[in-house]
Symmetry: C2
Subunit: 187 residues, 2 copies
């Protein structure tokens, strides 16, 4: 354990998160705690929590230069004079990071195909160094009529920062493959 | 004019788009046709059409490696064996490209702050070389009660490919600044 995290040090959940999960890593290792998931492994009410990811200022700016070139996403100095009083990530960057944390956690066999998203909201801004994680809840599962080897899941993803503040919520439907031969208990 | 585009050549709207708008450019020049927009310049029913952008395979793969590492977004060979029968862009990549085309077209003074998105849908996949543009319609405008120097617009963004097929739809609310001193006719 890093000696800066001791009983005499003020509790800093962001520092603890960063130490536990790897602050500012460019790529995250695939967790080996979750085997490949199929539709048959999921049921309504099941919950998952992703690993965490610290958002570097550099990545906020790179994403904005490419996809959302607005001053509060591009430059710390000019962002100070904006409504946000500092650099913040594009909401689409938060959405993309959420996808990465979600898909790496649930690790669907053959992948999950997004059918659509409802109520995508960004109630709090993401700032440089924020450590995000995603909480997923399965809201509903149903078989696909048109693709009998797939099922449809409806899920809610809630993305939180190191203080537990919600930075994004969304509800989505996704098409995921069924296990050949039917249900097998997930590990 | 490229000599392959002549009267004896089959009409290829994708090629025409690419020649007109710059196929595969890494960055697009800011159009100088639109001055900075304020809330006061917008009214219900006003429509805009963005410039076009051709999506390179390389960019599809780069985005997927970073944010949506699923085989149908990562690798043309393994994507052939997927439900898509070939490489397709992540829906979140399509959303990010849409943001870029939208924000560069509308060019809001001081920026536009996304308050939330409803009914984000991807009815057709985006494939390498597809040339996308965004059609924006202002659905509603209203003053902000909490921020009197801003207004709220509700808008619909429809993203189409070179064949006119819809690849993304969404409805969004955004907070945009008012012009100091009230309405001035937009150019």
């Amino acid at each position: 354990m890093d000696e800066t995290i001791g009983p005499l040090t003020a509790f800093r959940p962001d520092v603890v998160f960063a130490l536990l999960y790897g602050c500012g890593r460019e790529t995250m290792p695939l967790p080996d705690v979750m085997k490949e998931l199929h539709f048959d492994d999921l049921e309504q009410g099941r919950k998952f929590q992703s690993e965490a990811f610290s958002v570097p200022a550099k990545e906020i700016i790179e994403f904005a230069e490419k996809f959302d070139p607005q001053k509060f996403h591009l430059n710390a100095k000019s962002a100070e004079r904006s409504i946000f009083k500092g650099l913040v990530a594009s909401g689409w960057h938060t959405a993309a990071i959420t996808m990465r944390l979600f898909i790496r956690k649930l690790n669907f066999a053959e992948g999950a195909i997004g059918l659509g998203v409802d109520e995508l909201r960004w109630p709090n801004a993401v700032r440089p160094g924020d450590v995000l994680h995603v909480e997923t809840e399965i809201l509903e599962t149903r078989e696909s009529k048109s693709k009998p080897d797939h099922g449809i899941i409806r899920l809610r993803n809630t993305t939180r920062n190191q203080r537990g503040e919600v930075v994004q919520t969304m509800t989505a439907n996704a098409l995921v493959p069924r296990r050949r031969g039917g249900r097998v208990a997930a590990d």
